[in-house]
């Protein structure tokens, strides 16, 4: 299809379904002058080749911090991993040396950031930044790198790539910039891409285009994709499974359709209710009452309890475990978990 493939080790690609990344019981803290903020409190999720995991949550839920810890780009003071493992192809990255992690970064696991304008270097041409991956990691010459850059730009459908390869980031529109970022991320055909709010800064129509592109490329290269977002609308088309995060914890996981159809956690329910719908015309919009918690002082028990309509005394004292969700007959529903004492009532009504 495209020559970008030629250089990559095709025999290294995993079968669809083999786990690529497993985050196990990850705990990350920040030591600030006001105290210790517990940003990530026991997160577990995994992604397999060809699979898309959507991580959903508001600001402060810990979704970005988890992603950055996986990439290894979190600032380590004041951040600190206090517990857990991050397994990439079975090996714990947290135990690797800095140099080993650096070699994985960009080449095997790549990241796409939210604001492409600030994430791209303003004084270097787009072609340079795209070609850098090839020059640094594969020893390509300047000419070769430039050709590859043009190929990549073509691949992500930037018109007139050859003429625009020497242009600078500020000369492109928002949507095109985001596509350049995507191109940069997949230039060396990584196993896994982490997209941190890739469409939040874009218009709705452009959002759809970018998400389509992402899905297409993922299928082509059989990559795993972790899509971090707070926007439920974006996720529906692209994700295979969803993990909902709140206050540094996963509160629900489910395959995508089941989450929308039958949520098993009050928070998820609240999020779904908050999406404005056409048939609500004339009515007041719903919003979950209250605000996300201060990470320096997380509420006792279930962190969501102050905002929950159905909270009980148990909720206020005991942190719920991530229960396996079953159907009405007690049969376990695969891939479904809920961190709620009242998950049964929430799910089954």
């Amino acid at each position: 299809m495209t020559t970008v493939i030629e250089n990559n080790q095709k025999n290294d690609r995993l079968e669809v379904g083999t786990p690529l990344l497993e985050v196990k019981d990850l705990h990350v803290e920040f030591h600030t002058r006001d105290g210790v903020a517990k940003a990530v409190n026991g997160v577990n999720y995994s992604v397999a080749a060809g699979e898309t995991l959507a991580v959903l949550g508001e600001s402060g839920s810990g979704k970005s911090v988890t992603a950055q810890t996986i990439m290894g780009i979190l600032d380590m003071p004041p951040g600190k991993v206090t517990q857990g493992e991050i397994l990439y192809r079975g090996q714990d990255m947290l135990k690797m040396s800095n140099e080993e992690r650096r070699r994985i970064r960009g080449q095997k696991i790549a990241m796409i950031f939210q604001d492409a304008l600030s994430a791209l270097n303003p004084v270097l041409s787009v072609g340079y930044q795209l070609g850098e991956m090839f020059r640094v990691h594969q020893g390509a010459s300047k000419k070769e790198a430039k050709e590859k850059a043009i190929e990549l730009m073509d691949r992500v459908r930037i018109p007139a790539a050859r003429q625009r390869v020497n242009d600078y980031p500020h000369q492109f529109s928002g949507g095109m910039r985001q596509r350049i970022m995507i191109a940069m991320a997949l230039s060396l055909q990584p196993d896994l891409i982490i997209a941190d709010e890739p469409t939040t800064a874009l218009d709705v129509t452009v959002q759809a285009q970018v998400m389509d592109l992402l899905a297409e490329l993922q299928a082509e290269y059989n990559m795993g994709l972790i899509l971090i977002t707070h926007d439920l609308g974006v996720v529906a088309d692209v994700a295979d499974k969803i993990a909902v995060m709140y206050a540094g914890r996963i509160v629900e996981t489910a395959p995508v359709h089941e989450l929308y159809a039958n949520p098993a956690h009050p928070y998820t329910k609240g999020l779904l209710r908050s999406i404005p719908r056409l048939d609500q015309k004339g009515q007041e919009l719903y919003a979950i009452k209250g605000l996300p918690p201060n990470l320096l002082k997380v509420p006792a028990g279930c962190a969501f309890n102050p905002r929950c309509d159905v909270a009980t005394d148990l909720c206020r004292t005991e942190i719920p475990a991530l229960h396996h969700v079953t159907d009405k007959d007690g049969k376990e529903l695969t891939g479904r978990r809920s961190a709620c004492h009242l998950w049964k009532e929430t799910l089954h009504g």
């Binding site: 960009g106 080449q107 790549a110 950031f113 270097n121 004084v123 991956m133 640094v136 600078y168 000369q171």
Partner: protein
């Protein structure tokens, strides 16, 4: 880009005329009669004074004098001093020394300043950074005369590493001390500017992206961080070269360097209007040229302003 250059050049013209006019009028508004002063302590003969004045054109209205002056200037004639020597000769006499000194100081301030600033910025809050801040603060605070004397006494007389004053300005080793003194203030500014710029830019998103791309550290710093951080520093350096050439009066005085600053100082004291105007016009040209080069460099470094 061409339009940018053209625009800048056009801007320079009124400024050049404005500054030279300003200097001309400032100088010639000086009370005191330089022609009469040529007689020294003796009483000047009014007739001879008048004759000389007429010969030198001092009795024409000031505006006329200015126009004559500008006219000559545009043909490269910087005027004649009271001793009948063309000012341009005096300039070319004093210039090489000043250029040597200024370039030397410039090199010191760039190399040391950027290096110190880079390390301090990367290790912000740590020992080197704090030390660098203190040292640069001292260099900024201690006025040039004081610094000059300290260096001269300590390194020239006490430790005898270099000659205390410059005997032969062709010998570059003798220029070390004045170059260091001249460059020290600017070095401090360059170091601080670099440090702040680096410390700020290191938090930038594009640096995070560079790290996320798995680039080795020296590439992240050398290519991505430095290119962005150098922009304000280059701007400062540009205006500094002009200042170094014109403002070295004190340093030249202490170390006995017969450069432009020295000549200018003498001319001002002797109220030699033509000489002063000539010298300053020349310096203004240098200053404007340096400013233009800086703006061009700025456009090269930061593509965003090329298309503004």
């Amino acid at each position: 880009m061409g339009r940018f250059v053209a625009r800048r050049l056009l801007q320079m013209i009124p400024v050049f005329f404005g500054t030279t006019a300003l200097i001309f009028f400032m100088v010639h508004a000086l009370p005191g009669d330089p022609v009469a002063a040529m007689w020294g302590d003796k009483a000047p003969d009014p007739v001879q004074v008048a004759a000389l004045k007429h010969q030198m054109g001092f009795d024409k209205p000031l505006i006329q004098q200015y126009l004559d002056y500008m006219g000559k200037l545009l043909t490269g004639d910087f005027g004649t001093g009271l001793d009948q020597r063309p000012v341009i000769d005096k300039i070319t006499e004093a210039l090489p020394v000043t250029i040597r000194l200024a370039l030397f100081a410039f090199a010191i301030e760039i190399v040391l300043g950027v290096a110190i600033g880079l390390f301090a910025g990367l290790r912000r809050g740590k020992a080197f950074d704090k030390g660098a801040l203190v040292v640069t603060l001292l260099l900024i605070s201690i006025p040039v005369p004081v610094l000059g004397f300290i260096f001269q006494t300590v390194f020239g007389q006490n430790l005898k590493w270099v000659t205390p004053t410059v005997q032969n300005s062709e010998d570059i080793t003798q220029l070390v001390l004045p170059a260091v003194v001249l460059g020290s203030l600017s070095l401090a500014y360059v170091a601080r500017l670099t440090r702040t710029s680096i410390a700020e830019n290191i938090k930038a998103d594009y640096v995070r992206t560079a790290v996320a791309k798995g680039l080795p550290r020296r590439k992240v710093i050398g290519t991505h961080l430095l290119r962005n951080s150098m922009i304000p520093v280059v701007t400062f350096l540009g205006t500094d070269l002009g200042a170094l050439m014109g403002g070295a009066i004190v340093t030249e005085g202490i170390f006995n360097v017969t450069g432009v600053g020295n000549a200018l100082f003498k001319a001002i004291n002797m109220k030699e209007g033509a000489t002063v105007s000539g010298f300053v016009a020349f310096l203004v040209l240098v200053y404007l040229a340096a400013g233009l080069i800086v703006d061009l460099l700025y456009a090269v470094l930061d593509p965003r302003i090329r298309y503004a």
